[in-house]
């Protein structure tokens, strides 16, 4: 959070290559992004400095948004008909100081073109005097059980928690800050199943590909702690379980922001201190959020590759509904006397051998026992030029080695046909909080997804987050 946005001039990005990308499309240049908020049909996030980023779909981001007040590392939360925006002015070690004020303001919309747009200043809700062991920056909201909490602070001393009035955004009268962590900054808060989660970064920021920022977490039954990690180490003694570290071409994740999309689907925003594909600039990033044993863990968009797509309901493999072709084999070899010579490997069934019985027209799909056959192996490839959804480009899903693509028809059927790039052949693949995936067509309406409606039958029907019928795993073939 230490930089001002002016330090990050925007650069256009060359077209993304057709490989799996953690990176978002557009010009997602930002440092210290807030939680992403949805307002008037668009997604907004604000960063250090005055502006922010805006997106229609959560995949392609452009500079935009208006946030007066300057300062660093804002956060946003919507409560009722108000968007509260909190930010810090001063501190952060800039100019050698740690005196800072955390300020709140609100607006009824984040869309500057709306007649309802306009910020109303609430005032200072927390501060540090420059001497005490706290630097009041990097504020983060949590609205849980009707109460509004705010964490703030940096490596300079303690992370602190205060309570605000959710109806006004003001500090609760008489509320005193509580120390909840050390050696952490860029905190964020979540509430789930009776646990309060305090997340924040460890490591070094603001040094491009040498930044060691990584996001950590502790939890408590109480919003004011004590927060401990998975080893029971208090965050007040430096603890923190890893949520996400740098990976691939993205270095130094920080400034976690929860994106709850409903239907058991959560993602999180962050910045990478350095996107190596974008000259090392700090960029917005979005990743699936998983929960394992009560702890949040960074998930992954499905990577380009060839997979068996396995139903969590029946274990059946998604496949072309075609005649089974035997692999030539003399079963007596399996049960005969031990061979005296070396054993020769058997070849896999070839695509040509399997295809020999396929009809040339559309072929429906079903679920079958996985027999490691070509008609059960799917190549999954991002299609970034076709747009995307929150945190990911659309994918095409074709039988490996062919152009036969999984296709959603206008009347809600799922079949396969030659890939044309039509919307019915573009798929949204979201990792769910348990690590499995939901597969839904771009043309989906009413949360329709690929669902095992029988042990061996698939259809495009409404996704139910409470059972396994709509959950899939991508397994190496």
């Amino acid at each position: 959070m230490k930089y001002r946005a002016a330090a990050f001039p925007l650069f256009a990005l060359a077209a993304l290559a057709g490989t799996a990308h953690a990176q978002l499309a557009g010009e997602p240049y930002i440092h210290d992004p807030s939680t992403i908020a949805f307002s008037d049909g668009k997604y907004y996030t604000f960063g250090t400095g005055r502006g922010g980023l805006v997106s229609d779909d959560g995949w392609t981001w452009h500079g935009g948004g208006v946030r007066p007040g300057g300062g660093v590392a804002p956060d946003i939360i919507k409560i009722g008909d108000r968007y509260y925006v909190v930010y810090a002015v001063g501190g952060g070690g800039m100019n050698g100081g740690h005196a800072s004020n955390v300020k709140v303001m609100w607006t009824k919309t984040l869309d500057p073109a709306s007649p309802d747009f306009g910020y109303h200043d609430v005032g200072i809700v927390a501060s540090s005097d420059g001497v005490e062991d706290c630097d009041a920056i990097d504020p983060a909201f949590l609205h849980a059980d009707g109460r509004l909490w705010l964490s703030y602070g940096t490596y300079f001393g303690y992370i602190r928690m205060v309570e605000l009035n959710p109806k006004s955004g003001e500090r609760i009268a008489g509320n005193q800050p509580v120390d909840v962590a050390i050696d952490m900054e860029a905190t964020a808060l979540m509430y789930r199943d009776g646990w309060y989660y305090l997340l924040g970064t460890h490591g070094t920021c603001c040094d491009g590909p040498n930044s060691s920022y990584n996001i950590r977490v502790g939890r408590s039954r109480n919003p004011t702690g004590p927060f401990v990690d998975n080893m029971g180490i208090p965050l007040l003694k430096g603890g923190g379980k890893l949520v996400v570290a740098g990976r691939g071409r993205g270095f130094g994740p920080g400034h976690f922001g929860l994106i709850d999309l409903g239907d058991g689907l959560q993602k999180f925003s962050m910045h990478y201190e350095s996107d190596m594909d974008r000259a090392g600039r700090s960029v917005l990033a979005i990743q699936p959020l998983l929960w394992k044993d009560g702890w949040p863990v960074g998930g992954d968009n499905v990577a380009a590759g060839t997979y068996e797509i396995q139903s969590e309901r029946s274990g059946g493999a998604l496949e072309l509904a075609v005649d089974f072709v035997r692999i030539d084999f003399d079963f007596r070899r399996a049960f005969g006397p031990p061979p005296s010579g070396p054993l020769a490997p058997l070849p896999d069934q070839t695509l040509a051998q399997d295809m020999a019985v396929w009809p040339s027209s559309t072929i429906k799909v079903d679920l079958g026992d996985y027999m490691i056959r070509p008609h059960q192996k799917w190549s999954v490839t991002p299609v970034p030029e076709a747009g995307g959804y929150m945190g990911s480009p659309y994918y095409k899903i074709v039988i490996a080695g062919t152009a036969r693509a999984l296709t959603a028809t206008a009347d809600g059927e799922v079949t396969t046909g030659g890939y044309t790039g039509d919307a019915g052949q573009l798929w949204r693949i979201d990792q769910l909080t348990d690590g499995t995936y939901r597969i839904s067509p771009k043309i989906a309406r009413n949360s329709v997804a690929l669902v095992a409606i029988g042990a061996s039958t698939v259809a495009l029907v409404k996704f139910d987050p409470n059972n396994d019928a709509g959950r899939w795993t991508f397994k190496t073939p």
Partner: protein
């Protein structure tokens, strides 16, 4: 620790370049109190809170990113004052260096020893420094297979009875039990623990305790530097 880039650190490590005045001093009292002559037990988690701390030695570093093992080992095994690796000082002792530096016998009020606040409270440099710390652990019996567990901000090295026990290299932040030594022996009677912490910009502190073979804190020891 210093978690910022060299660009930003430039104005942190050299306050003369920065805008704004120095904050008013708090002194040592928020974080320390004078050590007494009475033995002091570790805290409930086994952390050693009584130390002789030497006023900071100037060692400019604009970033902590350069605290590689080789750099830290060289920096912390260089002799800055006579008796650096052998003497158990007393409160008020002075050492001759580029500037006279004084030892302070202090009890930390917290589980960790806040070196930044120690330096700030004495109106000494807080960034670009090396801190030396010494304490004496009085063990009631010979204890084998104990381990020294250290967290420090930033890098540090630690010796037990003159033998190197652990090194914490890189741009460290402090977490309890960050680096744990191989099994070692605490002799019956006096055992000298010596450490040095190097820091560029940012806060600096350390926490030290002994743990037994089961990872439980060793508490039946006394700290007797008085």
């Amino acid at each position: 620790m210093g978690k910022m880039s060299p660009l930003l650190v430039a104005c942190l490590a050299f306050p003369a370049l920065a805008a704004g005045g120095s904050p008013p001093l708090q002194g040592l009292s928020p974080f320390f109190e004078p050590a007494t002559s009475a033995p002091k037990a570790p805290d409930a988690d086994g952390f050693v809170q009584r130390w002789l701390l030497l006023e900071p030695i100037i060692k400019p570093n604009r970033s902590n990113a350069g605290f590689t093992g080789s750099y830290v080992r060289t920096a912390l095994t260089t002799e800055y004052f006579r008796g650096q690796f052998s003497v158990v000082p007393h409160d008020g002792d002075r050492v001759a260096g580029t500037a006279p530096l004084q030892w302070h016998a202090l009890d930390s009020k917290l589980f960790d020893v806040k070196l930044f606040n120690f330096a700030q409270g004495l109106n000494k440099p807080t960034y670009g420094v090396i801190f030396w710390a010494v304490t004496v652990v009085d063990s009631p019996r010979t204890m084998t297979d104990v381990r020294l567990a250290v967290g420090s901000n930033s890098a540090s090295m630690w010796w037990v009875n003159g033998k190197e026990a652990v090194g914490l290299f890189g741009d460290r932040r402090m977490v309890m039990d960050d680096v744990v030594s191989p099994p070692l022996t605490l002799h019956k009677g006096r055992n000298v623990i010596r450490g040095a912490v190097i820091n560029g910009p940012g806060l600096s502190d350390f926490c030290v305790r002994f743990v037994d073979a089961d990872g439980k804190p060793v508490r039946d020891i006394a700290i007797t530097i008085g």
